[in-house]
């Protein structure tokens, strides 16, 4: 007798995500459904506004990848207007992008994903002296793992536990058999969890130096950047570099070491050795290291064929809404898409927790659409980025990937797993951090002969403009598409990473990466589905990003079931 498991809210993510799975009598997952339960309608709101405000508005799609949408929206307008911005502006934008990554990936691994790998309660039984010794196995220069530091961390957490008030650690999955770290390893990671709270603040400051603040920096405009005084101040430049050193140090001596440690401990844990069941990947150019030279280059891998990486063709992108809470006759390109909300709600049924409202897998069940590339589901994100660049022979990526495989003793196949996805994010962080110093040097060199940061945009209100931009957000390839008419936004569409990964089944019955990743997974206890949560977290969900619509064909949005008082 199959049983339904409902997981809502998936916590430690951005936004509102509901996952449901069906397990058989052996607790093996046979079916899975991914649903976003929030719709905000931001692209609708853009309509009729000045293109100059687009960046600031789309930025509010997400406060986690708080810079990605800002930049993508701004660059979509620049693309539509046929502008090329000053070189300094390009470098500053790239430095901000690097700063975002260094912050975002650290917070994801330690504060969002970390508790899927680290059993906090187990760390209480660790021997701090042994843990200090063990930490030297994963790097010769560990951070925050001296015996005294570890003892202090342990006592601090013990004191919390003794109060009986676990706060954010309460009622979790401690003791689950798929936690594979030793008590000592758990203590090392727990110490880094706390240390990372400090380091992420510094990383956020890096973004604020050229961005004015973080989250939601405010220094990009159509035509360039505004933080010209920060760029021209030697003290400010060195402030960025100093903070970079602090953060990069942590990335290389703690984050990297912890992934090597996880590879050792979880290398035999079946529940993290699957999870990549959509074997098509795509990524785009990002991280400018010099004139026209990107750290990561664009490309597409279809059906796991690493020998044939093709260039992205934007015409091949379509969105399907067969099982999403919208109406449309067929899959549509972002430029031609329609969006009419069609909320059908839940269906009552028996679950492992008793009778509950559940997703209607046969009907519509998510606010996320399903983007497809040549009608195929595709995974995006750090793993895709590294696989595409590895397959293309990008020497920086090839060296880094081979180096990690050598250190962990894992085969290349290990990349195609949940563990591999989490490791790829770390490796990407290391490379981005290193590359950003090249960006920094390129900026300094350029400043010797050029101080320009802005070119004034010009819009002819008698002309119609169409444009798009793509960048590699922390969660994967992001694209924004705009049409400008009468000097105002006529149409807007964002096709975002989490949409690619989290979308529901399409018209052809093909599951997206989230759903496919769960099939065949065995749960130790279906009422406490840690294994599912861990796999889903490895994608780094960002739901607010993924729930977006635009009514391209001017139909009245909400003639459906929206209360007219809402307008």
């Amino acid at each position: 007798m199959n049983k339904r498991v409902v997981i809502d809210p998936i916590t430690r993510i951005e936004g509102h995500l509901r996952i449901e799975v069906e397990v058989d009598e052996n607790n093996v997952i046979t079916k899975a459904w991914s649903s976003s339960t929030l719709w905000r309608g931001i692209e609708v709101i853009l309509k009729g506004r000045t293109p100059m405000d687009v960046g600031l508005i789309v930025q509010r799609i997400c406060g986690v990848c708080t810079y990605s949408h800002y930049r993508c929206g701004t660059e979509a307008v620049e693309n539509a207007l046929g502008m090329t911005i000053p070189v300094n502006a390009k470098y500053l934008r790239s430095l901000m992008q690097s700063s975002l990554y260094m912050h975002d990936h650290i917070v994801h691994f330690y504060h969002l994903h970390g508790l899927d790998w680290v059993d906090v309660v187990s760390a209480l039984g660790a021997d701090p002296a042994k843990a200090a010794q063990d930490s030297l196995k994963y790097t010769d220069k560990p951070i925050a793992t001296g015996e005294g530091e570890l003892r202090a961390v342990q006592e601090r957490v013990k004191a919390l536990v003794e109060t009986g008030k676990l706060g954010p650690f309460a009622n979790a999955y401690w003791g689950n058999g798929t936690y594979r770290f030793t008590p000592e390893q758990n203590l090392i990671a727990l110490s880094h969890y706390l240390k990372a709270l400090e380091v992420q603040r510094v990383a956020a400051e890096m973004l604020a130096i050229f961005g004015g603040k973080s989250p939601h920096p405010q220094s990009l405009v159509v035509g360039g950047v505004t933080s010209v005084r920060d760029m021209l101040s030697p003290a400010r430049l060195q402030e960025w570099k100093q903070k970079h050193a602090i953060v990069q140090d942590f990335i290389e001596r703690a984050y990297q070491a912890d992934i090597v440690m996880a590879a050792e401990a979880f290398g035999t844990e079946a529940s993290v050795l699957g999870g990549v069941n959509v074997k098509s990947f795509l990524c785009t150019n990002d991280f400018l290291m010099g004139d026209g030279q990107y750290l990561f280059e664009q490309g597409v891998i279809m059906h796991g064929d690493l020998a044939n990486v093709t260039d992205i063709n934007p015409d091949f992108i379509k969105e399907d809404v067969t099982h999403a809470w919208y109406q449309a006759d067929s899959a549509q390109h972002p430029y031609d898409g329609t969006t009419v909300p069609d909320y059908t709600g839940f269906v009552e049924r028996e679950t492992v927790y008793g009778k509950l409202p559940t997703l209607d897998g046969d009907g519509k069940y998510s606010w996320v659409k399903s983007p497809r590339y040549q009608d195929e589901p595709v995974e995006v994100g750090p793993l895709s980025c590294l696989l595409v660049n590895y397959a293309k022979g990008n020497p920086i990526v090839v060296d880094a990937v081979n180096g990690l495989l050598a250190r962990t003793g894992l085969p290349i196949e290990a990349l195609f797993t949940t563990l591999g996805r989490t490791a790829a994010r770390m490796l990407q962080t290391v490379l981005v951090g290193q590359a950003s110093l090249h960006t920094f040097d390129a900026l300094i060199t350029n400043l010797m002969s050029d101080e320009s940061t802005f070119i004034a945009p010009e819009i002819d209100s008698n002309k119609e403009y169409v444009g798009h931009a793509m960048n590699e957000a922390p969660r994967g390839m992001l694209s924004h598409w705009i049409r400008i008419k009468n000097g105002k936004v006529e149409n807007y569409q964002a096709v975002v990473p989490t949409t690619w990964n989290a979308g529901p089944v399409d018209a052809n019955g093909k599951m997206g990466p989230y759903e496919a990743s769960l099939i065949g997974l065995t749960l130790e206890d279906p009422t406490k589905p840690l294994e599912v949560i861990r796999i889903i977290h490895s994608f780094d969900p960002c739901m607010a990003c993924s729930v977006h619509v635009m009514d391209y064909k001017k139909q009245t949005l909400g003639q459906f079931k929206i209360d007219p008082n809402g307008f």
Binding site: D8, P9, H16, D53, C62, G63, I562, N565
Partner: protein
């Protein structure tokens, strides 16, 4: 000083009350600080800084210090509605090194979807438990607007499929105080901008209780933490302005404390981004700064451990702590003086069409806007 004396007395009463509640922890804050390498002296310095930030006289720093030690007695429930998580991201950047995390250890964080270990059914249990266990005593923080169209169906949270609207109403019932963190929870925010397809509203529009509104997209980490601290110290809401924003944070116009104010007064303006004026730090009014119409402490406190704020980074203020700013302050790169001065607040309609043409009239805007800065109650 009479007001201060009364407030001080109230603070002492509050602390006495908190002390009377049975301690949940066997280890004192002092001990924990020692364990974490924080000296008493560091702690007192932090308390004095926090006191200054709350615009209270120095003697209050004793209260601040003691409140921090007692803070663990106040459970905090933090809900996420229609939002982008930017406010939670701001919270995690809170900037008093080492000590801030300790302070948060001492607020009992019962529910916060971005930070809590439990998920799904177990997370929902934690929420239900906290609502029942701490009824009448918990602080409720809400991040994000409440979609109300279609009976709230544009947002459901939890296995039981309750709408965000229902969850907020239920949680508000037993809350000792409610804090709307950020412009979305306070005033509806970006999803409430025209045409507001989901009927998004601020929390205060869907519950019957007083709600503290922390405007800002997002509010700075200091404005969030400082407001929590105020409630913990005094057991009451801080003095609020006409939009229910704490006056200690939102009492002054951005324009009044702006580092470029002298440039404004001297008539020195950036004409286009990246020009010589921009390099020299001229006033950003002509390229759209909304500082003259915006109440917040950004120029004095800045963001990210005082690293910067938008005007320092050469971009005008966009008015993000004001109600309806997405509609009323756009275009963001043009002076508001070009448009009708509508929506600085609800009563602005009665002023009629106050049109600010040239920048010199910005001074006029100053006078007009200052009227609204007057306290509602004091």
């Amino acid at each position: 000083m009479d007001t201060h004396a009364a407030l001080y007395a109230q603070g002492q009463q509050r602390l006495a009350y908190l002390r009377a509640i049975a301690p949940r922890q066997s280890v004192s804050l002092e001990q924990k600080m020692a364990d974490n390498g924080i000296t008493r002296r560091d702690f007192i310095k932090w308390s004095a800084a926090m006191t200054a930030m709350l615009a209270l006289p120095l003697p209050f720093s004793n209260l601040v210090a003691e409140a921090a030690e007692l803070a663990d007695r106040v459970p905090l429930i933090w809900l996420h509605m229609a939002e982008c998580t930017g406010c939670s991201e701001s919270l995690i950047r809170t900037d008093s090194p080492n000590l801030d995390t300790l302070i948060f250890d001492h607020i009992s964080l019962e529910y916060h979807e971005t930070l809590m270990a439990a998920s799904g059914w177990q997370a929902e249990e934690n929420l239900e438990h906290a609502l029942a266990q701490y009824k009448g005593r918990y602080l409720l923080a809400v991040e994000g607007a409440i979609p109300t169209a279609n009976n709230g169906a544009f947002l459901t949270v939890g296995c039981k499929g309750h709408t965000g609207l229902q969850i907020v109403k239920d949680a508000a019932e037993g809350a000792a105080a409610i804090i709307s963190v950020g412009t979305c929870a306070a005033f509806g925010g970006v999803q409430a901008a025209y045409p507001n397809p989901t009927g998004a509203k601020g929390v205060h529009e869907v519950v019957d209780k007083t709600v503290i509104n922390l405007g800002g997209c997002p509010p700075s980490e200091k404005n969030i933490v400082g407001t929590l601290m105020y409630f913990i110290m005094f057991g009451k809401l801080p003095a609020l302005d006409m939009f229910n924003r704490p006056k200690w944070a939102y009492g002054a116009r951005v324009h009044d404390n702006c580092e470029r104010r002298g440039r404004f007064d001297a008539g020195e303006f950036v004409e286009t981004f990246g020009d010589q004026g921009a390099k020299d730090g001229y006033c950003l009014y002509k390229v759209g700064c909304k500082g003259p119409y915006t109440y917040n402490n950004c120029p004095t406190e800045r963001f990210n451990h005082h690293t910067s704020w938008p005007v320092l980074a050469g971009h005008g203020c966009m008015g993000c702590s004001e109600p309806n700013f997405w509609d009323d302050m756009a275009d963001f790169e043009k002076p508001l003086g070009r448009q009708l001065l509508h929506g600085i607040d609800a009563t602005a309609d009665t002023i009629g069409a106050v049109i600010l043409g040239a920048t010199v009239v910005g001074i006029g805007a100053h006078a007009v806007a200052s009227v609204f800065a007057k306290p509602l109650e004091d």
